[in-house]
Symmetry: C2
DNA sequence: TATTTGGTTCTCTATTTGCAGAACTAACTG
DNA sequence: CAGTTAGTTCTGCAAATAGAGAACCAAATA
């Protein structure tokens, strides 16, 4: 008679990385940096942890332990990070845990998105120009100027990555 | 006997601009755009109002009336905008009112600051690289790559403005 | 079938935020 | 000096946020 003997089921990576004070302090600072960008506190801390963790992949449980927060908070934060496409998880045969990692691979796409996002103000500038009267031409000109620059800027983004690539080789 | 007859004291520009629905709706959208950038709601609305207002300069009172908010809220928001160097006020002889305007003139400096700000993540990336072990070289390499790009990017910012200037002429 | 594991969802609460309204101040006016 | 004007600061509250803890669920195990 055969019994199913799971290879790893009783042997998940249960030892967790030891974080030094330096690690912890860096995680906090990365946390507040992201808070300033409008993210909720724990989300920023998790990004910090995933960055400094030597494995790059961190289990749900370990996040809970390392950051000393509740499972519910971690669950919500990870759902958010995945929705924003900043984070993915992988699994391992015979181990039901999920191991979360940053999608560091597409930093190019992410950064480009951020640039386009800040240039998004152009849309508003243009709408503003449409509703403005001719009364204050100086003001209008400066806005037109800014809008033109933003258009130029957006077009330049791909070239920027190109030049970086060439300059690297 | 001479009496002091103030030229404008009883004649400040008391008629306020009429905002259409389109104006109001645009102000709201500009407001939420800035909220997403981490500003408090009223600050974004004021930016919107100063953008669409035909005069470019708007008195404290008119801000209160147009946006239908309290004086205290406006006072705090304007203090904030001035602290952030996004806004200035001017006065007129014989008129004690302050007329607030966006510092639209230095959009170049502002935009450059925003770009540098998003590249500030490099500082953290580098610190992270210093505390990371050699364990996950692939992860480390991607981070190094990203950091290199951010360094390159920062250096490119002035050139970007240069190219825009040339391309305009 | 009962229990454990890994995680999600729901409910509740402490904290923070954003603003109103009142009290206040400082400069000017009658 | 009493009143007005223009704006600031203080006090308090309603709403939003962030997270704890418990209840819950589904898959795997005993």
């Amino acid at each position: 008679m055969f019994t199913f003997v799971p290879l790893l089921a009783h042997n998940p990576n249960t030892t967790i990385m030891v974080l030094t004070e330096k690690h912890k302090e860096l995680i906090e600072r990365i946390g507040v940096f992201h808070e300033h960008k409008g993210m909720q506190p724990l989300v920023g801390r998790i990004i910090g942890l995933l960055l400094v963790h030597e494995d790059g992949e961190v289990s749900f449980d370990e996040i809970v332990e390392q950051l000393g927060v509740s499972k519910s908070a971690v669950s919500n934060a990870l759902t958010f990070l995945q929705a924003k496409d900043r984070c993915v998880y992988s699994t391992r045969p015979g181990d039901r845990k999920r191991y979360f990692a940053l999608k560091l691979s597409d930093w190019r796409a992410d950064f480009a998105k951020e640039l386009e996002n800040i240039a998004e103000i152009q849309k508003f500038i243009d709408e503003v120009l449409e509703v403005r009267t001719e009364k204050n031409q100086e003001f209008n000109c400066k806005m037109k100027d800014f809008s033109d620059f933003l258009g130029f800027f957006k077009k330049e983004i791909p070239a920027l990555f190109e030049r970086f690539k060439r300059q690297q080789a």
